[in-house]
């Protein structure tokens, strides 16, 4: 049986599969490390007791059907729940507009498969969510990106590019991927005026908008943003997820799109219904939980965590950095005024016991960038304080090393800390 050590035939792989699998950016394992890299929900706010109750009740009430392929009442209940919730956010959907997916991640993969053929154009923000970039790369599409500003995507540059491409007869985008509200990693939100302009462009230049609204419910200000879907339902494929509002381990999300698109997305699922057992449990949970109260707890908690992080950054970094204070979501995008290499800083920060994600991971081109992503949702307030302090020490060390000065080594810092 030692034939399993033979090498497989890699010449047969699709040309869109990377030849060298990349290593994830978070390989940290030390117990005392602070993980400001993890874009995770706060585990202390998972509704564990309610979920345990819901699991038992779902299995007792509907076990035989819930464990079969098609499921019991749960999947229909969830679709209806999504419909009602979407309606509150200005989205007019019927059950035929809704497809439950394995998280918003599967929504990205399905949208890419639905539209993109090798060589097609997909346009994104820069920075943007790395899993989206990966999904588009795997489809063989060509990615072009447009800068993110304090009020979201630079729609003016997008419009110029669309005009130029049309005039020059170059390939037009099939899809524009955007996270308009509480951007990952940028932390910014697309202004209302830009939202209207963006969907006008989608209509004028005949592309779909893939709207990732994963953080939309985590609103710290009470200010409401119209979804792009509500402005142009025929031009938008909308993604959302239970990962941020209940728990990511459930792996349940949803897409909202025109029924003619949903019908075709179902085909891509090859007859499999998304995790019906989990759906039955979540449906039971949703019947017994006060979701608005739960969301208020999440918003309050994450807002406080954001404030702790922002205060620590101001204290430790002062004028060396700038950022847009996020009005929701999980992430703070830190910009350095000096042109430092955050990939190098990321490595040094690990020596100091804090993980971050370098800017490069969020850009299609993967050049050097003077930006990095910090997540304030997962760690405790104390850990955030400690993590930012460690990051500042790593930064000073990095700068000192670059300037040729004698600096404390990470080892000395650790021993003395």
């Amino acid at each position: 049986m030692n034939k399993s050590t033979h090498s497989p035939d890699l010449t047969l792989l699709s040309r869109y599969i990377p030849r060298t699998p990349s290593i994830g950016s978070t390989t940290v394992t030390h117990e005392d490390h602070v993980h400001l890299s993890f874009g995770f929900a706060a585990p202390s706010l998972f509704p564990l007791v309610e979920l345990e109750h819901a699991s038992g009740a779902a299995i007792r009430s509907h076990g035989q059907e819930a464990l079969q392929y098609a499921g019991a009442p749960g999947p229909a209940y969830i679709v209806n729940w999504i419909k009602e919730r979407a309606h509150r956010n200005g989205i007019d959907a019927t059950p035929n507009h809704i497809l439950v997916t394995y998280g918003a991640t599967q929504g990205l993969a399905l949208a890419a498969q639905l539209l993109l053929e090798p060589g097609d154009e997909v346009w994104t923000e820069a920075p943007t969510f790395f899993s989206a970039l990966q999904a588009f790369r795997l489809s063989g599409a060509h990615i072009r990106s447009f800068p993110l500003e304090a009020d979201g995507l630079n729609v003016e540059l997008l419009e110029q590019a669309l005009q130029q491409a049309r005039t020059a007869g170059r390939p037009m985008p099939k899809l524009l991927y955007t996270m308009p509200t509480y951007h990952n990693p940028g932390g910014v939100t697309l202004s209302v005026a830009k939202r209207h302009r963006l969907v006008e462009l989608a209509r004028e230049y005949h592309f779909y908008v893939l709207e990732d609204d994963a953080y939309g419910e985590l609103n710290f200000t009470g200010e409401l943003w119209p979804t792009l879907y509500s402005l142009a339902p025929e031009r938008t494929i909308y993604l959302n997820t239970f990962s941020k509002i209940i728990a990511p381990g459930l792996r349940l999300g949803w897409m909202i799109a025109h029924p003619q698109l949903i019908d075709r997305l179902r085909i891509l699922m090859l007859g499999g219904s998304t995790g019906v057992f989990t759906q039955e449990i979540v449906a039971t949970l949703l019947q017994h939980i006060d979701i608005d109260r739960h969301l208020e707890q999440l918003r309050t908690h994450y807002r406080e965590q954001r404030d702790v992080m922002a205060a620590a950054i101001d204290r430790h970094f002062g004028d060396a950095v700038y950022y847009v204070l996020p009005a929701g979501g999980f992430f703070l995008w830190l910009n350095f005024r000096e042109a430092i290499d955050t990939t190098s800083l990321q490595q040094r920060a690990l020596d100091y016991g804090v993980s971050i994600v370098d800017g490069r991971s969020f850009y299609p081109e993967r050049d050097v960038h003077h930006q990095l992503r910090l997540c304030f949702s997962y760690c405790s307030a104390e850990q955030i304080e400690q993590g930012i302090a460690r990051l500042a020490a790593a930064y000073r060390d990095d700068r000192a090393a670059e300037l040729g000065e004698v600096a404390l080594t990470a080892l000395e810092y650790h021993n003395g800390a």
Copy 2:
């Protein structure tokens, strides 16, 4: 908000998406219908009590981690369980050889994405599993199929085709999809001699074998079959699932392949870990269930159901049909001696209150076929008796209608039955 009634722009769809979504073959809704079409596990044998216990225990013990992205001890436990189980079936795998998927269905989609580009050749059996055909069609590959015999795939014809393609300089297959053991829908099993020949061909002609072993554990005879993976691990991508041995609604399956392939398959999952909450529950279940005893119950039950179905067929159809008695699995593939159209019979059978799947659904070409699939796993013995009697009546009616004779209408039959 009534813009949602606007038609979406279908010109932007990938050309590999069907223009007309097909309607599933099972649209039956009558309560008194017998569903011999459903390829479902027997719900009475789901370990519901154990699962309820496992859900509670998993949430209490590991809830916070199990609901996060990466999960708690469950995913590692399951990989180890798969490793041990595979070892008993002659497969030498490490955890790096194993990827947990959303059922074997996701395994099909991932294998297609890993290897197939538009225009590539993928070769299959005929008949074959319809979801596999769908996955290959969606990748834009060209499908060529080879007949299934009483001892599985006609390997001789396959070899001739490989020789001819090589000689003529035509495109060679990248992938051969096969279900060697307890075939869906064919009910047949590939002989040991053919297994050896098939993997020799894979080596000689440089293609991968995609081995679907979904029914492998449901063995009615005690006779053991070497997996193709055990014979040529470097040339095989192996699929299996918990759907048949625990419950389909969990949507958990696995792939076994060389670590260099598994690394790349992980990329296709875009950083999402397959249903970690469900994995934690199933891991807890596997620690508390006697799986061998459970499998013996399943095998005994399904063997008895198969015998009930075979006896009913013999009684009602006699010499009008022939079939290979399945030595395992869920399905009996019924061949009519006359060249009847089972798509027409499928419709008439619905009028008589029984659902079946026509032969056409299992062939790449979708021509008329004189075969149909019956499933003996889902219905009770009484329902199977009744279903076969109804099917025989529908068949007689169908034949009589074709021969121009006066026949009982379905309505009269129902009223009199």
